[in-house]
Every structure is written in C-alpha cells, then in structure tokens.
C-alpha cells in the first residue's frame, strides 16, 4: 500500500505482478521467449484471429479528420484540471476517445471474440 498513500499518482500507475489480460500475454509469449530449432514441432493456430486489427494506421485522411474533430471538440476555455474533470463526467467522452484508445479497443474486441470462441470450444 506504500504506493497508494504516496499521492494521487497511484491512479495513474497500475501495477500487476503478472499479465492479467490477453493483450499482455500476446505481447509476451507469442513472439518472445526461447525458440527451439527445427527438431521441434511448433503448431499454433488461431493467432491471426487475435492479432488482426491490433494496430491503427496514422497516416490517412480519415485519421487526420478524426484528429481534427477530436481537437475541435476540446473545450479550451476551461482550466486544465476542471477540463479533465468535466471530460471524465461527460457523456461525449467515449466519442472523443477515438484515436488513442483505438488499439486498446481493438484488443478487447478480439478478446471478446476469442472468449466466445473459447466458450464454443
């Protein structure tokens, strides 16, 4: 609990001893770790399903327009702190997230797909 009592920053530091979500695990064990040579079978299927859509493309007109909209929506008249608080409580917040949250959402979507698949298995 030392971290939590040392300031409000604890809200911005999520500490975990081990991966809890699929995104973390994919990062770590699908393309990292020791690989043994050709004597050994490596037969993994289903990876494409998980990694597809995980990245977003920055350099396109659509992307630029979404950035422009996100900036247009900012309320710059407020003080920074009040502005953040307001955005957190604001129903439009989800619409505004768009770009940067994109990849995370892609991951959770795939997570869901994968979970449904796991259930069916």
């Amino acid at each position: 609990m030392a971290v939590a009592t040392r300031g409000t920053a604890s809200n911005y530091l999520q500490r975990a001893p081990s991966p809890s979500g699929l995104a973390d695990v994919i990062d770590l064990i699908l393309d990292k770790g020791l690989v043994i040579d050709a004597y050994i079978r490596i037969a993994v299927i289903g990876i494409e399903l998980i990694t597809i859509d995980a990245r977003i493309v920055i350099a396109s007109v659509d992307t630029y327009l979404r950035f422009a909209e996100a900036v247009n929506r900012l309320d710059l008249t407020q003080t920074e702190a009040a502005g953040l608080a307001e955005l957190r409580g604001n129903g439009d917040h989800d619409k505004g997230k768009g770009m940067i949250e994109g990849a995370k959402e892609a991951f959770s979507r795939d997570d869901d797909k994968e979970r449904q698949k796991a259930k069916k298995d």
Partner: protein, 243 residues
C-alpha cells in the same frame, strides 16, 4: 504430445504451479541439472485460445517466483516426454545451463504508457499557435467548407503527437534505463506513448518501483502507466546466434 513451458534448474520446486494448457497438470522432465516444465496435450495442434495463452503465462509466472526460469515461446510441442529430454535438454544442455546462470537474478519488468488523449491534445493546441489557429478556423465551420483545413489540422496534430511521443519516450527511457541491465523499447502500437521491457536484477526491483511511482506522479493526468512484473525474461532470452 508434450508442450514445454520453460526450463528451470532441476532443484526448483513445483509447489503452487497452476494447471497448464487444457487444464492438464504440469510436470517436469529432468536431465543433467535441468528441468523442463511440461504438460500433455491432445491432438497435433495447439490453438492460441485466450485460456491456453493465459495458462502458459501463469505457469511461467509461478516459476519465476520460485527462481530463475527460461521462458519458451507459446506453442512448442514435442512428441512426448522422452523427446523433451533427447531433443531439447540433452543437445542444448550447455547453452541452457549458461542461460540459466546468466539470468539467475534477472527478471523482466514491462512498462506501457498510455496517453490521456484529451489532455495531450489540449497540450498540443496550447503549445502550437498554428494548430490553435486552424482549430479556431475549423471548429464552427460547416463540413464542406472546412474540409481542407481540417485535413491540415489533423495532419499537424498527428505530427505534433508523434513529436510529443518521441520526447516522452526518451524521457521515460532515460529515467529507467540506468536501473536495468538491458532494455528493449518496442515500436508498439501508435496509440501508446511508450512500450518497453527492462531486464532488472531482483535487488533493484524496489528502486525501479520507486522510479515508476515518480514517473506516474510527474505525468499525472496525461499518461497512465501499466507496469508488469517481475516476469520471466521473455524479451531477453535467446540462444547465442539465434534472434
């Protein structure tokens, strides 16, 4: 078929190691001071399902809590337990033993930094007069009339965001790197401010924790840090001369 999770020193206890892929119990194949953590799997193929990926990871997390472990990539399957000894442990004994010695006290700590989009966009508009002007010009303009300006605005914002990311990455890396033996910064998804893994001596994990706490306080409101570990050295193990 037998799936292999990782290699540990033969004396490492198996206490508390959770069930492996498909819920099968995890056992050991021991040979010459080394033990492979293994479990039986049915069929000829391994599916990368959420549950099995998490199982693979959970077995390794438990192992690293007990001592050094060389994590294998997900999906390495051999014919049976004899093959694990004959095709993996015996021919690779010297290399595996050397790797276990090298990583004896080292763990991986993984850091991801996520921007708060509104906060960072706000910084960008405030610090760049040209972007502020384009924003003023487009925010209340009808779609058709302002299209070209919006594209220019978005492009300028994307570029500014990239520059911000670059400078934040460098600052975060500069703070953490001295605490680690080795480090790998990843290109990662463009949505992230920073993604990196650090190879850290167990005795310095506490100092790394403190540095993370400081970073989180400094960037409060604009960056959220996700900090994982201690993990097996996934990002750092490889046989000499092999990626």
């Amino acid at each position: 078929m037998t799936v292999v999770y990782g290699i540990v020193p033969a004396e490492t206890p198996l206490d508390g190691v959770p069930a492996g892929i498909g819920g099968a119990p995890v056992g050991r194949v021991v040979s010459g001071g080394l033990a492979a953590l293994v479990s039986p799997v049915e069929g000829e193929e391994l599916r990368a399902t959420r549950r099995d990926l998490l199982s693979h990871s959970a077995v390794l997390e438990r192992a690293i809590a007990a001592g050094p472990v060389l994590p294998l990539r997900f999906g390495i399957v051999l014919r049976d337990e004899d093959a694990v000894a004959e095709e993996l442990l015996e021919p690779r004994r010297d290399e595996l033993t050397a790797l276990l010695e090298r990583f004896e006290r080292l763990v991986e700590l993984r850091v991801k930094a996520f921007y708060d989009e509104e906060a960072v966009l706000r910084e960008i508009v405030r610090s760049d007069p040209a972007i502020a002007r384009l924003n003023e010009a487009t925010r209340d303009a009808p779609d058709a009339a302002a299209h070209a300006h919006r594209v220019r605005l978005g492009e300028a914002v994307a570029r500014a965001l990239e520059a911000t990311r670059e400078s934040d990455s460098q600052a975060i890396f500069a703070r953490l790197r001295p605490l680690a033996e080795d480090a790998v910064v990843e290109d990662g998804e463009s949505s992230l401010a920073f993604t990196a893994s650090f190879l850290v001596d167990r005795s310095r994990v506490e100092a790394f924790d403190a540095a993370m706490d400081e970073l989180a306080r400094e960037h409060e409101g604009r960056i959220t840090f996700k900090y994982l570990g201690p993990l097996p050295p996934h990002s750092f193990v490889s046989f000499p001369g092999e990626g």
